[in-house]
Assembly symmetry: C2
Homo-oligomer: 206 residues x 2
Amino acid sequence: MTEKNIPDVVVSRLPRYLQILNQMAREGLHTASSLMLAERLGSTASQIRKDLSLFGEFGKQGQGYSIYYLMEQLQKILHVDRIWKIVVIGAGELGRALTRYQGFASHGIEIVKLFDKDPKIIGTQVGSLVVQNVDTVAEEIQNKGIKMAILTVPGEVAQATAERLVDAGIRAILNYTPINLVLPPSVSVQYIDPVLHLQHMMYYLG
Amino acid sequence: MTEKNIPDVVVSRLPRYLQILNQMAREGLHTASSLMLAERLGSTASQIRKDLSLFGEFGKQGQGYSIYYLMEQLQKILHVDRIWKIVVIGAGELGRALTRYQGFASHGIEIVKLFDKDPKIIGTQVGSLVVQNVDTVAEEIQNKGIKMAILTVPGEVAQATAERLVDAGIRAILNYTPINLVLPPSVSVQYIDPVLHLQHMMYYLG
């Protein structure tokens, strides 16, 4: 179902489309025009039509999109139509908060393991999980065939930890550290760093 | 210094360029080729040259970029070459963690106020700040001329709170809620939602 040569910037917008369609469905709406979507996204109708047309024909001219049908299609395109098991590396304040976060389950995202290297933290309970020694991470990832990790370790060990995860089979890392990770091109990395996101917006405030 | 008609996707990469140049400077490097930058970014040399050329001529053919000069120029372009005062709305676990976060200061980002509406939380100390009643937020924003806010309130009140901030003069919101915000086009919004970022990467894992 993955289409070739779709620009990453288009892919990055699809989860937002899905978020808005979900919200519209919860409001009891059944169809949405590209203009309605654009107004909610702060985008334009032509951008939305252009983005979606890269993946197929999802609406009929003049009738708008069926919200449920488009949601189902976007879920397939993004591969979110299944359960994704994920590990969290680093059981500090942030790692613990993410492990306990209630908002993952409804999106099919399941945090299955939480790791740390601090003997004082290993063995403690966080939500329904017990913090495990990070030295066992490769074994756990391989046994469970896990492909995604959330990285919340201290910056000094971010690169080394990421390399270890990739060696164990991880192919996507959500990087909460403020460190740039240098990894093979086959590995996806997303940066969640408030500094980067704030700086992006400062450009427009100048 | 803001150039017109620069695609937002290019702007979004500039903070990452700055992050990498900072890292190289800390490693004691003085010059960087576009290839060196590309290897660290998981990008291509031509993309980096193309992005930077939209803003000016920063390197000499065959000599690479002076790291300090390029950093200085990018800081000017992004307007990060000054102190930015920011408010945090919502003093739950995440709002408190962000308020205490040590990584902002070195980037000129200063959290000056933290607000909540819960009488049990108002008046409590978080780092060097005392949580204030959110009913005073407009006054504080106007008095201090603050343009940026970090939003960590519960989803149910996210839209209403964001509108209140915009009415008070906020022009950029870092949105940690899982809610799509509908705001005037003059307001920048960045979404920090682990679900959206994980879904983006799931596309490539399918």
